[in-house]
Amino acid sequence: MRAYIPAYELKSLGRLTDVVSLLALEPGAWKPFAGGTDLMVLFESGKLDHKKFVSIWNLPELRGISVTPEFVTLGALTTYTEVQSHDVLRQEFPMLCQAASETGGLAIQNRGTLGGNIANASPAGDSPPALLVYDAKIELISSNGPRVVPYDGFHTGYKKMVMRPDELIKSIRLPRVTQAWKQYYRKVGTRKAQAISKICFAGLARMDGGVIQDIRIALGSVAPTVVRCSATETALKGLKPDASAISKARAELAREISPIDDIRSTANYRLRVALNVLEDFLTGL
């Protein structure tokens, strides 16, 4: 334990209105604290600089998964375990379920939340690539009321987001339009379980007559944020996924991403594996 525990505050307020009022009072002074699977790790290693937190774990308004004809809406506090056991998510959003099943071990999956994963803004998160290609919308709440922003563009730089300090993630909405699309998710981690990703790939494609009508590709751990690879997508639209299309797509993706060396892997590895995984995705279309 590397933290001076008495220096930290963690309030538990019980009502969403009280939490957003507190966040509004002095924006940035208090930060939300969900399941703790990221913050407690920083805290214990003495690397949690911020000291005032408000627990949102017990806010019922941020819980639950609801389904309408257009959307599946997941409360920000939906845990990875809850994601995996939801029938509609399993049928229509299997990549999110797979991401959830590959995040930490069971004990982490019972506490880690989708909202927390987004707000933690790690480029190595397992769910964000899936959320990106599913075209998720994020509902934010503050004392000024709610607003909805697209997840694409939500992360503006390393650990930076469009969310204001007085805002909370209330829910994540997934448009129910991709069920018939081909789906491909692959996390390449340091081991089979309890791993942080070296790269993480999510791909969606709408095929017609063997031709790619529409395609979405997102990658984690290859840039300061999780990225949609729009140049590669554009290059592939209207093509049959044959050898020449694959070769073109590989070249495009190599231009589009710029992974780095870090403690977990190398730039060369990440780049080449990303290209290979892209090829695997396209080959399976």
Binding site: P6, G35, G36, V41
Partner: protein, 169 residues
């Protein structure tokens, strides 16, 4: 009245008994269990949610107690390794760990037993793959896991034998 030290009172159920402890709100559930409640069966291996030695059941869910701040344990029910046996009667998982050699140095064992008990509660007859996934959050450096897998299989066989057959029809 808030405590000037910043400590708060946490009320919770631990091993079926209501308990109240006064701790810092960010104190780890792990320390609360080990130091304030003196239940030292729950171990610390890594302090970052990787090894699972600190596993406990929180409202029936497996959690790493090193990653749960005390204030979030308010009003919950915690079960630790001390409550897995019923008096002198070991749980089938505990007995199987002894019989099959699932415990060597023993430091991961309480967490591993908790995770295995939880696994069998969720999936009474897990496949090999389910056993591996169910225990993947609990690291063991001694056994290479083989004897732990055997212990889980053995425990679920023993469980099956102990379940009375349905009567009548």
């Amino acid at each position: 009245m808030p405590d000037p030290s910043g400590k708060v009172e946490i009320n919770l159920i631990v091993n079926d008994e209501p308990r109240t402890v006064s701790v810092y709100p960010m104190a780890r559930l792990l320390d609360m269990i080990r130091e304030d409640l003196r239940l030292t069966g729950t171990k610390e291996g890594c302090g970052e949610g990787e090894c699972g030695a600190c596993s406990v059941l929180l409202d029936g869910l497996l959690v790493n107690s090193c990653l749960v701040p005390a204030i979030q344990a308010e009003g919950t029910s915690i079960k630790t390794i001390e409550e897995i046996a019923t008096g002198e009667q070991l749980h089938a998982v505990q007995q199987a760990f002894i019989t099959c050699g699932g415990a060597q140095c023993g430091i991961c064992t309480p967490g591993m037993v908790i995770a295995a008990v939880n696994l069998l509660e969720r999936i009474p007859e897990p496949s090999q793959a389910e056993i591996r996934t169910g225990l993947a959050g609990n690291l063991c450096r001694c056994t290479g896991y083989m004897k732990i897998f055997e212990s889980v299989v053995r425990a679920c066989q023993d469980n099956k034998q102990n379940i009375p057959a349905p009567v009548g029809g």
